[in-house]
Structure formats: C-alpha cells, structure tokens
Symmetry: C2
Subunit: 362 residues, 2 copies
C-alpha cells in the first residue's frame, strides 16, 4: 500500500461499502484474499511469500459467517474510533479486551478469545491493504539500535550515536519515526543482544559507519520494518549475523522472504536484498572453530530437512551447500565461539574482513 | 560489597592467597560459602534470601577438586586480564568460549560445558564478594525505561525524557552509569512492554513524575540493579505492576526477596522496600474485571500451592489472602483487561488512584 494513504479513509471506505449494500437491500458481504496455506505462494520473481488469487467471502445473513462478520466490523470500528481518531496505539491483546463486550440484548460476547480479534485484524489488513501498524495495532516491542543516525519521533529528536551502552529501545511501531540524518554505509542485524553489546562497546558502528540492530529472541515486526525502511528509503545494504545453524538460516529467510504466518503482509515486511554475513560453515575452517562445534540432535536434523525443502531455499545452491555441510559436520557453531579468538575478534577482524571481501550468502 | 572496591584488587588478593599457600609448600585451597539448597535461608529480619554459614573447600591436590580448582583460577585470570584490564565487558557465553582451551601438554579442555565456567564465576562472586557485573560479566539485555532522568554513560549524556516512543534500551550492566538528575517521585516497573508503550504514549511519566521501566519477559539482573540503584541512591519507592496471577506474585517476590538461584547475590539484587501495586484480586470487584477472568488450570493451582508455601510468603497475610482469592475465584486476570474500561483507563484512572490511596501490597 501507499504509505501516505490515510488509514481512517480506508476504514471508512470499507464501512461505506457495507452501508451501500444495506441501502440496496442486499445481504452485506466482505470479500478478501484467503490466508490459508493453499493460497500462500512463493513468488520467485519478487522473491517473497505472498497470497494467491483465492478469494473468501463473508456474509452477514449466513449462520456460519454472521459472528465473524460482526467481529470484523466491530474491530474496524474500535480501530477507527479508539485508536486512529485519538492518535493512540495499542496491542493485539488490548484490542481483544476492547472488543470483548456482549452483543446488546444478548449474553453473547462479540469475541471470546483473542484469536478472534486477531483474525479480524488480519482480515482488515488484506481488505484495506493497511498494515496492523498503520491501523495503530502494535506488535511486540523488542531490540536495540545504535549508529550515526538522527531521527525525529513526535517532539523528540534522538541521536542513535549518543545513547551509551544501552542504545535506543526499538518501539513496536516505527511507521511514524522520521529519519533526519543517516550517515551509515550498511546495517548489521544480529540475533543476539550480547553480540550487539560487544559491538556497541567496541564502537563498531562508529569505526565502520554502520548501524547495529539486535533483538533478544524473535525478530519483531518493528525491527523488520525498521530494517526495511533503512533499506528502501536509504538504500542501505542489510547484513544478517546469526549462529551457524538452521535456526540462524531461518531467521535470515524470514527477514528476506517473509513467513507463512505473515504471507499477507509480505510486501510490507520482507527485504529481498538482505544478505547473510555469517556464521557460515566455511567460517568453521577459516577461523578454526571446529573445536567449538556443538553436536546436532534429532530436532536439528528434522529442522534442516524441513527448512532445506522450503520453496525459497530449494533451488538456492549456496544455502543447500550450507545445509549439506551442517549435516556432514553433524554440528552447529555459535557466533560467540569467535570470542575464543579474542574478545574483540568479531569487531576488529571477522566482520570487517567479511564486509571488505563481500563474503555474503544471498 | 562496597561499590567502590576495585575488582582487579579483589581478584589479585584471591590469587595472592593461592601463591602464598604454594610458597609455603601447602596444598592450595579455596574456601567459600556453599550455594546448595541446604545453605539457602530466608533472613526474616533483612527480608531477603541469602546463604547460610556452611563453607565449602576446594583443594588443588585432590582428584575430585583439581579440575574445578583450575577452572576457578582460569576464569579469574580471564576476567582480570581480558575484561577488567581492557575495560571490556562480556557475557557468560563469551567467558565460556574464552576459557575453552586445552590444558597445555594434554588433550583435556579446561571447560567442556558452559555450566562449568558459570559455576566458576558464581564461586568468584562469593569468594571475592564482587558481583558478576563488577567483574564485567554481563547478564541478558532486556527492557526499556523513560522518565525525567538524565544519566551519564561514558561520554554520553542521555535524557530519558527525550527518547520518543522507544525509550532508552536498558543495558545488561548498569553499574557504571551515573545519575546526573533524577526528577521523579517513584518508579513503576511492569512486566509487559505493551503496557509500558501505553503509559509512554500517554506520557504517564511526565504527568505523574514517575520513571517507567519494563522488561519483555524476565526481569533481568540489569533491570533489578537499575531499580535497586534508584531505590538506594534516590530513595524512590518502587512499585511493581503485574498480571493478577501467581506468576505476577512471583515476579514481584524475586525483585523484593531474591531467588533461590541467585541467593548468593541477594544483597546486591533485592529491594526489600518494593511494593506491589496490582493487579490484585480486590481490583476484580472494584474495576469490574470478572468478565475478563481466565480460568486457572492444573499448572496454575500447583504453582499457587508452591509459591504460597515459600518462606517469604508463608506468614504474609495479605498475600495469603490473594492466593486464597485466586483459588476461590478459580481465575486469574491480566493487566490489559483494564483496556475494556477504555484505552487509557490504566494511566488516567487505575494507577493514579492506586498511588493516591496508597493501595499497595507489601
């Protein structure tokens, strides 16, 4: 969707359609692309997961549709009135509690379970082409960032290079922040906060003109959108640093291609140009990490099989080679094993070498 | 320990003791308080969990002690040489990799598993009375903070009231930050980042002269030390806001009394004066939250039984009443159920009322 589109207007259009159907004496209906697995396709050309052409319909006068219809309309109303018009943001959980009220004159709740309001929000995303974030429904908050960047966030001007050992705490929603000055050559995203703290203490971002971003655990939608905005608006390369294992490969693939659960939001969240900087299986020989190998277990092997068969990895020779090497080595290796080479080996040698020699996986 | 003590000096004293034993031709030994469950006691007067008087000894010329002795000395050496002398910080995982090398002339690794280097660090904590953080070994990084506070963190001056929607990302180690200006009447810590985002967007901290702190998931050591420093150095009351369930009660108790796993660090991490602001079982009636009850399951009941029998809860009538009400209601209730009363009900009504009426649990 166009980022300048007014979410209030989109939701109003949605409701006007229903009103116009009612005015014509028709059974009101909502149509939208189906989000089930049979309608999720890997678009090779665009390099992203997305929804296919199958369309679902929801009618008001239909016993099996009526409740979902009502939920979608109620949630749309909450989003417009409680969030967009007040300028406030909230979480999925809050929207659930706001929607959880009885239908007047009955003892029936509009929603009984959060999955119902969550689904309604996803429906509204595909119906309106707005994102959750555009509708002020935030995802989880997680992660830190540092670098030579100045942003404006409402009335505050924030310099990411002057935030000490902590960095800026990435909000769940980065749609409204404004980049005022971006002096960086690339963005380095890492899955581990401890590695981020190492690079931050070493002032890696200053010495290398980089922006460093980390999460602790999942790569939230806020982080993904932050990376994407830097990629699209400033054409900065994005490099991903993960453990040398199948979970690292998957984290990378979600940033690059999207995930099944969020296929309907792929265009808004994926970054086709992102590159994987390490740890690769080649690094094991090169940096003498074999003695830090961790044996694969059954779960790891099963996950390698599964991930290697995903459409977006199936024909990727470089990655298939990685998966084969993992199996041949029967092992995985962690980013932090580089510490055995010296506490700042990662920031002084490993990363600068990789960047200089353009040693990336695509 | 005294916070002005020099960690390098403490570690040097530790090593000098060993050298002096060697010089005298003695079998070198290390003594320290035992950290197993039989030596963890609840100090009623101080209101914290701590180690008892049982002492363990580790000798070098003793087949069952030699490896652990070596590990303790090696880790002490890494901490002094690689961390303290360089001024750098690292994680437990990094220390493990730094210690993971073979004993010269053998094929035996000094450590094979991270639990070994972790234990050595805990040993050094009780031997020297330094904390991990004093020894530059950081815990997890997590959480955000906002409020009318200005800190100095190395060369950066950071104003927690000018960090937009994200806030300052709390580092894993807050020992070296300096408070320059603290204009707040109390600190509010909440377990949920989504609630923090609600309060931050509503500028709760500005309107109420508060500092708001959140984690996402566990209350890390960094967060606990941050709360503790504000409590001890600025005498600010600390209020904890959690879900109205047994897990919330436990989160609160860890901040207040400490945890079994960290009993040896209790004096450095606990905050006996902290108070619980909600959600309480009384709030259910008062704020009409019954319809947002979530049924307890077997796991919840088992945990209520377990937590209610902990020494530090056993004689606490107010909390025993909470546990009984949870069982009578057969239910728990989330902070965010307050959103059903209006998106900003929590920041405009619930919290200000609680603070004004001093409705806290101790």
């Amino acid at each position: 969707m166009s980022k300048t589109e007014d979410p209030k207007k989109s939701l109003k259009e949605f409701s006007l359609k229903i009103i116009s159907q009612l005015d014509k004496g028709k059974n009101p209906q909502i149509t939208f692309p189906l989000r089930n697995l049979s309608n999720i396709i890997y678009d090779k050309k665009a390099g992203i997961l997305k929804l296919g052409k199958k369309i679902g319909t929801r009618e008001f006068f239909n016993v099996s549709h009526a409740k979902k219809f009502l939920q979608t309309v109620e949630v749309a109303s909450i989003i417009k009135k409680e969030l967009l018009e007040s300028g406030k943001h909230s979480s999925l959980r809050d929207v659930f509690y706001m929607a959880k009220r009885t239908v007047p004159g009955t003892t029936i709740n509009i929603v009984d379970d959060q999955t119902e309001s969550d689904k309604a929000i996803e429906d509204l995303e595909v119906i309106t082409t707005l994102s959750r974030e555009n509708m002020h429904v935030n995802a989880n908050k997680n992660g830190s960032v540092a670098g030579k960047v100045i942003i404006k966030d409402k009335e505050d001007t924030i310099d990411w290079s002057k935030l000490g050992s902590g960095g800026w705490s990435i909000p769940s929603n980065v749609e409204e922040i404004e980049f005022k000055k971006v002096s960086a050559k690339y963005v380095l995203y890492m899955e581990k906060a401890a590695v981020w703290e190492r690079l931050n203490e070493d002032k890696y971002w200053q010495k290398n003109d980089a922006i460093i971003v980390s999460s602790q655990g999942q790569t939230t939608r806020g982080i993904r959108r932050l990376l994407q905005r830097l990629y699209e608006e400033y054409h900065l390369p994005i490099y991903v640093l993960c453990d040398g294992d199948i979970y690292g490969a998957y984290i990378y693939s979600v940033i690059k291609y999207g995930s099944i659960a969020l296929a309907h939001a792929a265009e808004r969240l994926t970054i086709p140009g992102v590159k994987y900087i390490g740890i690769t299986m080649e690094d094991v020989e090169k940096y003498d990490l074999k003695k830090h190998f961790i044996k694969l277990d059954d779960k790891d092997y099963a996950r390698i099989k599964q991930v290697s068969e995903y459409d977006w990895f199936k024909e990727n020779k470089a990655w298939q080679k990685q998966f084969k090497m993992m199996k041949d080595y029967k092992s995985k290796v962690e980013i932090q094993s580089l510490s055995a080479r010296g506490i700042s080996f990662i920031s002084e040698t490993y990363l600068p070498n990789k960047i200089k020699n353009k040693e990336f996986l695509d």
